[in-house]
């Protein structure tokens, strides 16, 4: 039997604020446990929450960035449940009246038509702390670290429109790009700044009837999201193939085994006894202010990608790669403006710069490469003052420590050799060593020219102007 998955994602994203959602404690990662806490986020008796306006601005920015409608009034509600990492015994979230309704995220899969996954809502809430189990003298002890308690989050809820693990992954990448472009979050999954719950059910292909869904919680990497979807699809398909029924449940994904297993069965829907938080007044937003936030939004990845294709003539692949990060796209545009040819700059960025960065496990953000220097270097290549091979060597220096390309070329003696006398004698020497190649050339094997050019380049330590060498070799063999 063939099944189609129906997938909806709930993505929790840390907002990039200096302080927590309802108190002034700093948001910092990697500090000692329980060192970023105060009476409010410890939920000491009598402490009260006060909303962080900056967090609201970032959440609104995200809502606008995905084309959602920002509600002029939203309400914070208490989600009541007991857990030691939840100091108040309730999480302040939004329920009946979220900050943002609707919106959509573009996804592009190789070989498929680009489409949009619609969003149900985006709401604000606070994060919980962290339980740490068994790391003390007694293995059965649990300890609480409440540094994370109260860190501002948005929860982005998609419609159940995702149809494959690859599409889920593409959705998350697209979402991450928007979050980063809009300065809403660093969305670093390794730091737990972006976490994902997967709601998944199967239905027979061609059928409109939805199956029973499960929720797989707390996935914190693209790989685990893809793995969990594959595993849960397989598990549900097996149940259905055997004539069984999928039970509504909360699942956990075992990344090592690549399997999902039931954490708890949801007999009824969970009763969190939501009600409006009487400690907070409704969040009323001035339409004028929302307008200002909208006006201050930077160009977003999707429109930038489209512009790179249509206005700058980049390939779809290059346009997508260059718009994945806002810094990279900004760098590309600055270098293009300085150099003049967007396509040349794109080629060098996507191939050479990308591979140098990959070798160093770095990114354009933390490299020393500057757009002007990069453009100047490509200019030297255009003018044949440096060969592509030498340029690549200079590029590595620029990525590592920056500098002036012309000076670097001079210091390292990498000026391209176009002196006819030098090139002629090098060509003569190579031809004298390889008489059989001349025979093959004359017999019509034009590919030998590449080999011979390589030899000349080697003799000149890669500095020979390739066009000039080609012309000299061809002329000498013809004669």
């Amino acid at each position: 039997m063939s099944f189609e998955p129906v997938i909806g994602l709930e993505v929790h994203v840390h907002l990039k604020t200096a302080s927590k959602l309802f108190c002034r404690c700093p948001v910092r990662y990697g500090t000692d446990p329980n060192h970023q806490v105060c009476p409010v986020c410890l939920a000491l008796p009598g402490a009260l929450p006060v909303l962080n306006r900056r967090a609201v601005e970032l959440a609104v920015r995200m809502g606008l960035a995905v084309g959602g409608s920002v509600n002029p009034r939203s309400v914070f509600a208490r989600k009541n449940y007991f857990y030691p990492d939840l100091p108040k015994g309730y999480q302040i979230s939004q329920f009946e009246e979220p900050l943002v309704s609707g919106g959509a995220v573009p996804v592009a899969l190789d070989g498929a038509e680009p489409r949009e996954i619609r969003l149900t809502r985006i709401h604000m809430e606070e994060d919980a702390g962290k339980s740490v189990h068994g790391e003390w003298e007694r293995a059965d002890e649990s300890h609480m670290d409440l540094n994370r308690a109260g860190v501002p989050l948005i929860e982005i809820v998609s419609e159940p429109e995702i149809r494959s693990s690859a599409e889920a992954s593409a959705f998350l990448r697209s979402l991450r790009a928007i979050l980063r472009y809009a300065g809403v979050s660093d969305a670093d999954m390794e730091k737990g700044q972006m976490r994902c719950d997967v709601n998944l059910s199967l239905r027979r292909e061609g059928s409109d009837t939805l199956g029973t869904r499960t929720e797989t919680k707390n996935l914190n990497s693209f790989r685990s999201v893809e793995g969990a979807i594959a595993a849960e699809m397989a598990r549900q398909a097996e149940v259905l193939d055997e004539g069984g029924e999928v039970v509504q449940a909360t699942m956990l994904f075992d990344a090592e085994r690549g399997t999902t297993h039931v954490m708890r069965i949801k007999e009824n829907s969970d009763d969190y006894r939501y009600f409006p938080d009487p400690d907070l007044i409704p969040l009323d937003l001035d339409p004028e202010w929302i307008h200002e936030v909208r006006a201050a939004l930077p160009e977003l990845p999707e429109s930038r990608r489209a512009r790179f294709e249509s206005e700058l003539g980049l390939s779809a692949g290059d346009a997508r790669t260059l718009t994945e990060s806002r810094t990279l796209a900004d760098f590309f545009e600055a270098a293009s403006a300085a150099h003049g040819s967007a396509r040349t700059v794109a080629n060098w960025l996507v191939r050479d710069v990308a591979s140098i960065l990959k070798e160093r496990e770095g990114s354009i953000e933390d490299s020393a490469l500057e757009a002007d220097a990069f453009a100047a270097l490509l200019g030297l290549v255009d003018e044949a003052r440096v060969t592509a091979r030498s340029a690549r060597e200079i590029l590595e220096v620029l990525v590592e420590q920056g500098g002036d390309p012309e000076a670097l070329v001079r210091e390292r003696g990498l000026e391209a050799v176009s002196d006819a006398g030098v090139l002629e004698s090098a060509a003569d020497a190579v031809l004298a060593e390889n008489p059989e190649m001349i025979e093959r050339w004359r017999g019509g094997d034009k590919k030998v020219l590449n080999f011979l050019m390589g030899q000349v380049m080697r003799q000149t330590a890669g500095k020979a102007d390739p066009a000039a060498v080609r012309e000299i070799l061809a002329r000498k063999m013809e004669s």
């Binding site: 009476p39 410890l42 939920a43 000491l44 008796p45 009598g46 402490a47 009260l48 929450p49 006060v50 909303l51 208490r78 009541n80 007991f82 030691p84 100091p87 108040k88 015994g89 309730y90 609480m144 009824n268 829907s269 009763d271 006894r273 939501y274 009600f275 938080d277 009487p278 400690d279 907070l280 007044i281």
Partner: protein, 485 residues
């Protein structure tokens, strides 16, 4: 034993003239607190209070007087946080807990130079109308130790009635300041919701709780409220409006004031006729002071008690979730998490608190929310509207504060519903978020009863003006326990 000097105003004058010192006043309060049989206090901070009093005296000697309460001993209910002091809410579950921070009210009192001599007894987590639901045992009414002082701020009311301190602070959620003020024969003020910061007040019902003062006169209460009132950025529900000088405008004149008498509050059912008679007489006095009266209607009054207990318990069930044995206070031994929670909360909370948590949890549950909590919110809106319409016709509303004088300790313990009816005159104003005051208006049978005055939101000045005018024409507020009636 040092004799009580009486009111805060009298103490202020004595301090100014050098006839007494803050150290002497504080020493007197501490002595009387220790000697008192009222069980009004759950803890004294003798050393800290003495040191602060010496500091206040030294400041005064340098001409630095910070407020009307500078150097004057006061008491705080055990649910108002003072840095370094226990804040136990008269509950076992907070055993061993000391607050690491000051409530805004305590910080303002500190800045004003007031000396907090101790924490007063209360119904556990402010849930009750008698101060019997206390881990420290019941507080006793200074007028008759066999009787309850009312509640939940019974310790604060008793501490003022017994002359231990001239001013004490309590919290009022549905009447917890006004009702014990009535039963103890002192003045008590429930400020407009949002007028006093709730930061550091341990929450019972967040949308209703307000801190307010008890005093022997309205003038003292006005001065005390002035110290703690005002906007606080740490409480999102705090009002931004500036605080007018409440105590300055008291001239004994009530002329021009229109007092509304809600017909629903002057029915003979469920109220001691002597209480109604005292209140009617008090209204007559106000008329003599220049006020006029008119009958008004608050048509949704009959639903107020039900609405109040739905809203307050729903909020309480959530507010009290943080007492889980994980971070502070009592922690019972338990194997595993749910046993830890169950045992801690079973051992830590008293029966009334458990009853309200259960009721509140129920009304918020899926399937019941619309029928109870949402409906209660709708009725709350109607009650608020009742008052808006009433205040279009009058400046103040006068009612009894409580349906009867102090009842005997133990008399109501097994009848929670009857106990809840003690709040029948006070909960509506709480639901509406307006301000109210209770001042003594009679001593039928030797026990005090109170006149409740209500004013619109931020109408404290008119409350104080009317109450002060009344007090100038009568001496009920000046009567002390043991002096006979």
């Amino acid at each position: 034993m040092t004799e009580s000097l009486g009111t805060a105003s009298e103490m202020r004058e004595a301090l100014a003239s050098g006839r007494t010192s803050s150290v002497e006043l504080v020493e007197g309060s501490l002595e009387r607190a220790q000697a008192s049989a009222s069980n009004a206090f759950v803890g004294l901070r003798a050393e800290a209070a003495r040191a602060e009093a010496a500091g206040a005296d030294a400041r005064r000697a340098n001409g630095d007087v910070r407020s009307a309460l500078d150097g004057i001993p006061v008491a705080l209910k055990d649910n108002i946080a003072v840095a370094g002091e226990p804040c136990g809410c008269a509950s076992r579950i907070l055993e061993g807990y000391a607050s690491p921070y000051d409530s805004t009210a305590a910080a303002r009192l500190r800045a004003a130079g007031a000396i907090v001599v101790g924490r007063t007894n209360m119904d556990e987590f402010a849930m009750g109308s008698s101060t019997e639901n206390s881990a420290a045992g019941p507080a006793r009414n200074p007028w008759d130790p066999e009787r309850a002082p009312g509640g939940s701020s019974g310790g604060s009311a008793a501490s003022v009635a017994a002359g231990i301190v001239p001013v004490a602070f309590g919290s009022d959620t549905g009447g917890s300041i006004r009702q014990p003020a009535s039963l103890c024969g002192v003045t008590g003020v429930k400020p407009t919701y949002g007028r006093v910061s709730r930061y550091g007040l341990v929450a019972f019902a967040s949308s209703l709780d307000q801190i307010g003062p008890f005093a022997r006169t309205s003038a003292d209460a006005a001065a005390a409220l002035e110290v703690i009132a005002g906007h606080d950025p740490r409480d999102s529900t705090s009002l931004p409006d500036p605080v007018p000088p409440y105590a300055d405008a008291l001239d004994g004149d009530a002329s021009g004031l229109v007092i509304g008498l809600p017909r629903e509050y002057f029915v003979e059912e469920g109220v001691d006729p002597e209480v109604l008679a005292c209140v009617r007489e008090a209204v007559t006095e106000l008329e003599k002071a220049g006020a006029s009266t008119r009958e008004i209607s608050l048509p949704h009054t009959a639903h107020a008690i039900a609405t109040y207990y739905l809203v307050a318990n729903a909020e309480a069930s959530s507010n009290l979730s943080r007492f889980d044995g994980v971070r502070f206070g009592l922690r019972a031994d338990g194997r595993g998490l749910s046993e830890l929670y169950r045992k801690t909360r079973s051992e830590g909370f008293g029966p009334e608190v458990k009853r309200r948590i259960l009721l509140g949890t129920y009304v918020l549950s899926a399937g019941y929310y619309d029928a109870y909590y949402r409906k209660a919110q709708q009725v709350r809106t109607l009650i608020r509207r009742d008052f808006e319409q009433a205040f279009a016709q009058c400046d103040l509303i006068a009612t009894p504060t409580a349906p009867e004088a102090a009842f005997r300790i133990g008399e109501r313990s097994d009848d929670p519903l009857r106990m809840y009816l003690s709040d029948v005159y006070t909960v509506s104003a709480s639901l509406a978020g307006i301000c109210g005051l209770s001042t003594p208006c009679g001593l039928p049978g030797g026990l005090p009863v109170g006149l409740q005055l209500l004013a619109p939101a931020l109408g404290e000045p008119v409350l104080f003006r009317a109450a002060d005018a009344y007090e100038r024409r009568t001496d009920w507020h000046a009567r002390r326990p043991g002096e006979g009636s």
